[in-house]
């Protein structure tokens, strides 16, 4: 089906991107941005039709990093998929671990000990902070500020990754959570190091904000660019900071109360305009809220076991049934849908990738903007290709 046909097809009650009439004369220029374009985070291609500098049409092209993670997981035992989840969104392997562990725990009604819950919250929030910091860094990098903000973000990220490495053994491929708990216990020394690191985070966010928030160039480039209306955002299943920047109050930590998030006091930052600047601001504020959660969690973490004694590592065979578990990953709703047929391998293993689904409205946000803004809007969605293509 050609693109022209899809545009003319009218479907009621549904927000297709509008067709824009070209202003000038002559043909549209069709270019492929990516898969090796400096602006794309990974191997991602956008087929763009341009009228001068204006974007008339934009079709994302996926699949350059597709390795059929779901098929691999259906041929492997439940536990064997855990290290593969690290490689979905390789910035946030611990959130991915949690989402998968949560889905399996739902499938078999597995309880998780108190201390393990706290460790999970601490690690997930640290992951969120480093993801948001570096995603802002990339966003500014794509705006043309080569390096400086990204290096500030990476300096802080490096400290958080050191925490991850000293606990889990690996900086990015953590493979840390298990069905019914966590793999190794945190030591008192690690907790002290984490407290020290968390105490250093508010000055970092202040510094980051002093560097960026009131920068006139950033405001001129970001404000009013790539506006996403809240009703379209909801209808297009957009989740995460992108959704909240459009002003929809939906945070799965608050809605599902998974783990022990109902014990912590934190607010959900919301945007007013739904533009790139709001997304930047929501991420900064979410970092601040994550620091609050971390302070509370590191204060109250109890002693105790980290693994449910009834949990099984080998010979794990859930009873037939299905379960869908989801968490608020830094990029949006990360869900795992599992169907068990009673065998050691899942019959169906599905990842709901927030990065892929958030790109549904990329065309809507980009239409009518300049090419330079496409790079910016794409950066503000915050995707990782490992998760988009799986």
């Amino acid at each position: 089906m050609s693109v022209a046909e899809t545009k003319t097809e009218k479907l009621d009650g549904w927000n297709r991107p509008p067709t824009i009439e070209p202003g000038g004369e002559g043909e549209l220029l069709e270019i492929a941005m990516g898969p090796h374009h400096p602006s794309t985070h990974g191997v991602f291609r956008m087929d763009v039709a341009l009228d001068g500098e204006r974007v008339m049409r934009l079709k994302p092209v996926f699949g350059y990093l597709h390795r059929n993670h779901e098929k691999i997981a259906e041929g492997a035992a439940y536990l064997a998929s855990m290290p593969y989840t690290d490689r979905l969104d390789y910035f946030c392997s611990l959130s991915n671990n949690w989402a998968y562990a949560l889905a399996v725990e739902k499938l078999v009604a597995q309880a998780v000990p108190e201390r393990a819950q706290y460790i999970r919250v601490i690690l997930a929030e640290l992951t969120r902070i480093q993801n948001h910091a570096s995603s802002i860094g990339f966003l500014i990098q794509e705006m043309g500020a080569s390096g400086t903000p990204l290096m500030y973000a990476f300096r802080e990220r490096e400290k958080i990754l050191d925490l991850f490495e000293s606990l889990t053994g690996s900086r990015m491929m953590c493979n840390y959570m298990r069905f019914g708990g966590c793999r190794v216990d945190v030591s008192a020394a690690w907790l002290d190091a984490a407290r020290k690191e968390v105490a250093g985070l508010p000055p970092f966010v202040d510094e980051f904000e002093a560097l960026l928030t009131s920068n006139e160039i950033l405001m001129a480039r970001c404000q009013g660019v790539g506006v996403l209306k809240p009703d379209l955002a909801v209808n297009a299943s957009v989740t995460g900071p992108l959704l909240r920047a459009s002003g929809v109050n939906y945070d799965i930590r608050k809605v599902d109360h998974y783990g022990i998030y109902d014990r912590f006091k934190f607010r959900v930052p919301l945007g007013d305009h739904g533009d790139v600047y709001d997304r930047y601001m929501v991420r900064v504020l979410e970092m601040r809220e994550s620091i609050r959660i971390l302070e509370q969690a590191l204060k109250d973490i109890p002693a105790g076991p980290i693994m449910d004694p009834k949990a099984k590592i080998r010979g794990f065979r859930p009873k037939p049934g299905e379960a869908y578990g989801r968490v608020e990953a830094p990029k949006g709703e990360l869900g795992f849908y599992l169907i068990s047929d009673g065998s050691p391998n899942p019959y169906r293993y599905r990842v709901r990738p927030p990065s892929l689904i958030n790109l549904t409205i990329l065309e809507d946000m980009c239409l009518g903007h300049n090419v330079a803004d496409v790079v910016l809007i794409f950066g503000s969605v915050d995707i990782v290709l490992g998760e988009v293509d799986r």
Binding site: T6, W14, N15, G63, R350, R352, I357
Partner: protein, 218 residues
């Protein structure tokens, strides 16, 4: 949130004659689902989205499931008359014979939707639709006109499972390339023999390596 049975009743009241079937989920999380007949699925979906009480405005997850042909065999005792020579005289004798009857339950493809409500903050409601078979009648109505979020996910289900969504505005392959023929997530998919040498091959990989070598030598 209403229970799944109540939602089923509400659907049947709002969309008369709609085929809705309750599918229980034996797992402890008890996320039961509703199976819709494809014919009126779009109407039902619109009701689920627009009904002020249900308000399932957020279609979180769309996926496919492949159910292969299921072969069940049962043993049945059948009485029949057999001509036999008893005491030197041929006569008809009634005899009980055990026969194995084989049933083949035809396989089908299934599309599963996980719905949540952002307005009411409830969910999930799982709805599913099944195709007639796995080969030629694999069409289902697309719910993308109701939930835009299903757009890429239905494309993915089409790409990996081969369910054709009628009414989808842009149904192309998404993860595999355009010239690709098969559907890789189907259970009976055989991946092509572009075998890469592995020094520690064993089990299935070893078998493939040997087959590959045999084919290469021919």
């Amino acid at each position: 949130m209403k229970t799944v049975e109540e939602i089923k009743a509400a659907i049947q009241a709002a969309v008369p004659g709609a085929g809705v079937e309750f599918v229980p989920n034996p797992s402890p999380c008890a996320q039961h689902s509703l199976r819709l007949t494809p014919g009126r699925a779009v109407e039902i979906a619109r009701f689920l989205r627009d009904d002020p009480e249900l308000a399932f405005d957020f279609c979180s997850n769309v996926t496919g499931v492949d159910w292969l042909d299921k072969e069940t065999s049962e043993k049945v005792k059948v009485k029949r008359t057999v001509n036999k020579t008893v005491d030197g005289v041929e006569q008809a004798v009634e005899e009980t014979v055990e026969e194995t009857h084989k049933h083949v339950e035809p396989g089908y493809l299934e599309a599963v939707y996980h719905l949540y409500s952002m307005a009411k903050r409830h969910g999930p409601l799982v709805i599913r639709m099944r195709t007639v078979n796995r080969t030629d009648q694999v069409e289902l109505p697309s719910l993308t006109p109701i939930w835009r979020g299903a757009e890429f996910q239905e494309r993915e289900v089409f790409d990996l499972y081969g369910i054709v969504f009628k009414g989808h505005p842009d149904l192309r392959r998404i993860l595999m390339w355009d010239g690709f023929k098969d559907y890789p997530m189907r259970k009976d998919y055989v991946d092509p023999d572009d075998y890469e040498y592995e020094p520690t091959a064993h089990d299935a990989v070893l078998k493939r390596a040997q087959a590959h070598q045999a084919a290469a030598e021919k």
